[in-house]
Symmetry: C2
Subunit: 201 residues, 2 copies
DNA sequence: GTTTAAAGCTATTGACAATAGCCAAAATGG
DNA sequence: CCATTTTGGCTATTGTCAATAGCTTTAAAC
């Protein structure tokens, strides 16, 4: 029996819309529980149809990652604009944590490394990191000193955010206060950054 | 055709041996790429046979996690024994990073939270964290001050280790040196820890 | 030595990503 | 405004995985 289907409108998907809805779904259910079947249902489409817009699940995650890096970079830039020094670091740190809490899967995706040769991903990653670099250069750090400080700053924020998202801070103490002290502690360390240089061996 | 099988000896698996080999495999291929088919082949057994020793892949990961927490806790305890203050923190930090680098999947598993009610996992998790707590109490921190410091210390180490494992420190600067400065920076912050208390609001 | 429990096996199911190949809907271009 | 092409859907199917059912043999227990 031949079924005639008249005027079934298209869903009107694009690669960006698919990645966008995937990010929303991932933030709800977790990046690891994102499935094409579930995503297709949300988009009102069958699962194989998604392959008109993505190459694979890995490429979808990559698209989420690129979008997320752009968003996070923008958030950090907006938080630090017009501020400098400790003030900028504090504002940026809080913006970082808040965004990560609001978008756990996006945050997770934003920490994925670009594949070698993926110029778009490499560019957006570098741009986001540049925002952090710019804030720290107010401390007049140069060369390896700056690199070490940036690595320390990123490590500090990332570690806290991951533990918080995992629910690893179960003790009764106020987590907001712990974060505030973490940031202040980092600023203290930055103020003495040249005293942390290990002796040449 | 009936096949007669005489004297096929058993593989002699136990839950611990399965988890142990799973940990080895995971460190080689990545925790996310651990499959029962691959694990069974390594153990000289068919995939469904593993279910005589595990309940599910989730439970296998939990078993890896418990083993890993025990190992990491022991490593940290051994690194800090006989030392105190900044010396203990430095030694423990390096032991932490070295172990994580040697056992990336085990490390990842060790950061999984215990399921509520899983007494064994909760116990071994608490024991590992206690090692860190003990080292920091040499700084005479009490109550929330100590909790904040422990959270900061764990965040700092974890963030660095995760970024290093992900290959996120691609810049030319020496990663060992960056780690050394991170640890020294944390110690500097600890020395001024009460100056990081946020003003009451 | 007989019974029983444990540990292996084959066969099968169901979720998922992924591919092939078809058809309708938009877009393009005289 | 009709003809052609391109695009975005679709069904059907495959392969990989975790997981279950049910059988058989090994090894322990009595």
């Amino acid at each position: 029996m031949i079924v005639m289907r008249h005027h079934v409108p298209r869903a009107g998907l694009t690669r960006d819309r698919v990645a966008g809805e995937a990010a929303v779904m991932a933030d709800e259910v977790g990046l690891g529980r994102l499935t094409l079947a579930g995503l297709a249902e949300r988009l009102g489409v069958r699962q194989p149809s998604l392959y008109k817009h993505i190459d694979s699940v890995a490429s979808l995650r990559r698209d989420i990652s690129v979008q997320a890096k752009r968003e996070l970079g923008d958030v950090l830039a907006r938080a630090s604009v017009g501020r400098s020094g400790a003030d900028a670091i504090t504002a940026m740190s809080h913006a970082y944590r808040d965004w990560a809490r609001r978008h756990p899967a996006r945050y997770e995706a934003s920490m994925l490394m670009p594949s070698p040769g993926d110029v778009e991903d490499e560019t957006v990653s570098a741009t986001a990191i540049q925002v952090i670099t710019d804030v720290l250069t107010a401390y007049r750090l140069e060369g390896d000193d700056a690199v070490d400080a940036i690595r320390a700053f990123r490590s500090t924020l990332h570690g806290f955010v991951v533990f918080e998202a995992a629910g690893a801070f179960a003790m009764s103490a106020d987590v907001d206060r712990s974060f505030e002290r973490l940031v202040r502690g980092f600023i203290v360390a930055l103020g003495q950054w040249n005293e942390t240089v290990p002796p040449a061996r």
